[in-house]
Amino acid sequence: MSRMKFQISNLNLYYGPNQALKDVSIDLPESSVTAFIGPSGCGKSTFLRCLNRMNDFIPRCRVEGQVLLDGTDIYAPGTDVISLRRRVGMVFQKPNPFPTSIFDNVAYGPRLHGVTDRGTLEGIVRQSLEGAALWDEVRDKLNTPALSLSGGQQQRLCIARAIAVQPEVLLMDEPTSALDPMSTARIEELVRELKTKYTVIIVTHNMQQAARISDLTAFFLLGEMVEVGPTQEIFTSPSDRRTEDYITGRFG
């Protein structure tokens, strides 16, 4: 198996007195797709948000344990969260484009990080939109409102926006749960392409989706990471009884 991008050991997370993640340890390999599956409220999204420290914004949220990104603990004091988030991009459950033009959405990150030259920006915007398989649909209307796009297009725009800063990792939090089957299929196809360049970590409710697109699957239940392994194995011969019950549809 390839090099490990993330190495997480003994991660505990508390919202006030409630423990949301219990002693999670998992390694996530580079240039592959890892899927987190599990029932609602099992902590998979919370865990995903630990990887770019988006939980920092939640009051009374406390994280213990170690999260190594390329060997460096991202929870160590003095960590530059800004550059962390630049390296670890994120796509959210609901498409959330900014209420500006398509161009300005994609150019947001590069501008933030100091790119001002129009030509360079145009290049980045085009590349990113191509990378998100959206370019052909929007090339003639880059200056129209992003919110005039369909839901699936908006989500691909958000992917383009995320990859415009050339992150190393792409976190996706149920990116297709608000989309129709056609748009979902396009995003899934895109995810398979994205893994050649990025480490993709995707949370999904949809087990078939995990089976279709991921190399590695981790099953979460009640804040615990029950089992992780190659997707094929998890879905054909899980070693834990709870995983088997979940994927065979006995609960969840």
Partner: protein, 293 residues
């Protein structure tokens, strides 16, 4: 089915009736305003009213030049907006984006209560406290002037503008903030590049509402602006806006006289001002909507 329809008819009639009553009253007010103001045009021309620099309505022959009054209204409104809007937006951004939740729970209601402060109280403070202080510190002939009235008016509209702008900022979905943070933006970058632009239509509306309030405000300017009907040349000149002119003079005007009709005409001008601002606000709102849907 028949029963259900029957149940619908009465509420619908009541609501229609109430709406029609309201609209009819508004139409009559407008009609009355126009009817009482138009006769002045038999004595002087529209151009004379709008560009005349002399407001001597009780002289013989009278002179109905309203330019100084219009200049008074415009200057107080603009100066107070200039003072109040930056302050209000700063407050709104602080409350919505930077303030700890507990402090905000205290601060926002307090701000809103300040908005209910009767303007006569502010006018009184202006007359008794601010004007004498300005007069002494700046060595002026009188503290009752454009600056004094504008500061008070500014204080009066800050709560309105700040509170509505804050509503607009905090109604920007957290989704957008998250998207920005996840790209490696700081809180300040997120506020200035995402939240503020997204809330801009609402913020502009807040400003225009503040301006409308300032245009129509009477008591503060009546008490604190000095009341001299000349076009102001500096911040320290006394002014006499349209509103305070009407309030000060209407009581002593014979009904049906030229002066009486001229004051109604001043009211009509005020109405047209605020209406124009309102139209402008509606256009901004429509343009903002284009980006949001």
């Amino acid at each position: 089915m028949k029963e259900a329809m029957k149940g619908d008819i009465l509420p619908r009639r009541i609501i229609t009736g109430v709406a029609l009553t309201g609209m009819t009253i508004m139409i009559f007010i407008l009609f009355f305003l126009v009817k009482e103001s138009l006769p002045i045009l038999r004595e002087v021309t529209l151009l004379q009213i709008l560009t005349g620099k002399e407001w001597y309505p009780t002289y013989d022959p009278p002179s109905f030049g309203m330019l100084p009054l219009i200049a008074g209204s415009v200057s107080v409104t603009m100066l107070s907006a200039l003072l109040a809007i930056p302050l209000s937006l700063g407050l709104a951004i602080f409350l919505s984006e930077a303030c700890p939740r507990l402090l905000r729970e205290i601060f926002k209601p307090t701000l809103e209560i300040l908005g209910f402060l009767p303007s006569v109280v502010l006018g009184f403070i202006g007359m008794m406290v601010l004007a004498p202080w300005l007069q002494e510190k700046l060595d002026l002939m009188t503290g009752l002037n454009l600056l004094n009235a504008s500061i008070l008016m500014g204080i009066m509209i800050v709560p309105i503008v700040a509170s509505i702008a804050e509503d607009s900022l905090s109604s920007v979905p957290d989704d957008l903030r998250d998207a920005s943070y996840a790209m490696g933006a700081t809180r300040w970058e997120t506020t200035t590049r995402v939240v503020f632009p997204a809330a801009l239509p609402g913020i502009l509306e807040a400003c225009l509402l503040g301006v409308m309030r300032a245009v129509g405000e009477t008591m503060v300017v009546l008490m604190a602006a000095g009341g001299s009907a000349v076009i102001p040349k500096s911040l320290f000149d006394a002014v006499r806006p349209l509103t305070s002119t009407i309030a000060a003079e209407m009581g002593e005007t014979p009904v049906g006289s030229g002066h009486y009709h001229a004051l109604f005409f001043a009211g009509l001008l005020l109405f047209l001002f605020t209406w124009a601002i309102n139209l402008f606000a509606a256009r901004i709102e429509a343009r903002g909507r284009k980006w949001r849907e």
